[in-house]
Symmetry: C2
Subunit: 266 residues, 2 copies
Amino acid sequence: MNSIQHIVFIGAGNVATHLATAFQQSGKTIDQIYSRSEYSAKKLANKIGCSYTTNINELNLNSELYIVAVKDQVLPEILKKIKLKKKLIVHTSGLHTMNLLKKCSENYGIFYPLQTLTIKRKINTNAIPICIEANSKKNQEILSDLAHLFTENVRIVDSEKRKILHLAAVFACNYTNHLYSIAEDILKNAEIPFNLLHPLIKETAEKAIETGPFEAQTGPARRNDLKVIQSHKKLLTNKEQKNIYSLLSKSIIKKYFQKDNENEKL
Amino acid sequence: MNSIQHIVFIGAGNVATHLATAFQQSGKTIDQIYSRSEYSAKKLANKIGCSYTTNINELNLNSELYIVAVKDQVLPEILKKIKLKKKLIVHTSGLHTMNLLKKCSENYGIFYPLQTLTIKRKINTNAIPICIEANSKKNQEILSDLAHLFTENVRIVDSEKRKILHLAAVFACNYTNHLYSIAEDILKNAEIPFNLLHPLIKETAEKAIETGPFEAQTGPARRNDLKVIQSHKKLLTNKEQKNIYSLLSKSIIKKYFQKDNENEKL
């Protein structure tokens, strides 16, 4: 039996909180939380009901799995301080390669949740796809079994592809959300409630999922309607919003204009 | 009784198709479809089971309501050719003012569906919010009653606010979808299936709806993580994608950095 029961979390932010909760609800034991921030460490430890530390030298070395879920910026620094010999260690970063863990232990891997996670917001754990990578077939199986405890959506993805996935996710999630935010700002200025856009936002996501985004595209730029585009630009008094509008409308026109030409040639 | 039974559609595209179908399913009679394109006119007329014409002079003048659902580019030209005396006429454009209809009839208004509509994709009609405007209280009531036949989401919105709504919708829908499309292209290049992003796209939309997009923001730019941003830019070989990445990451950093400063001052 390779089954793991005991887990230590290094990190106490959005990802650590969601994963620690998911594992605990799946019957696993969280032994300890480490965070540089006492506030965060204590908060997550209280939620889980386990001990915490802010001193990396006090890391509980008797656990079975170490999940490092910290900001990408600080991940390399923290990993330098962790020596586990043979204990399994994973990080949850979309960006960093698996090799970064080589010096921490003989057994290592990746446990990357491809989802937007915020501490405050509860999420159905089944909606968290997990991308797995490991330094051995055995470790890959262990991680895959663990992920399957709370989600059916488990994928084996190597470091190069994971980096690309992470980049694509920035467009599909972070930047998409920022566009919602710009829409909200535009409406606020005109004292129009943002909830008027809720059905549109929902349907836009569902349509892209069901028909694919290329087919789903609508709007002035898709119709190459330069008059509408011009009048929208006039409405935009914020320079930054205007630049974003210009760049994205040009990008859509280019995409569909080129495509139409290609189709005409067929 | 002001209730309208008979409707003529001018236009046979995405919006006309969805509205004609919704009205027919609500028990209304579609008398005629006009479109410059015989293919489109015939297709929608066949779907509905009514007559069609491609000659604007053959417009059936015995109907009760005329819904002009054509591209924004051609709307002003088409309206010049329509003279209805007292028959109620509306257009469905987010952009154009109501006054454009003044010369068509004494009774006019707006029937603007704030939704992304594609002919091929069926949509629950209740998910189509309708923004109403009219030149009289009576006409406003008639249009509101008609919209309520298939949706509970009916709003009275004047031309100025509708223009702003339309602009915000371009960000929240059209540009958002384009970002999904860029994500799909990035994944295609690396032979990664787009469906890995489906749960993320769904959750991003739901989170923005439930918590508001400002709170919902996550990602490298939200954390001001310049190292990740730099390495993402290196990964992007497409110049246009790189420009979009740069502009949006800067915009997010600016938004939250300024906000943090403001909060610090409080």
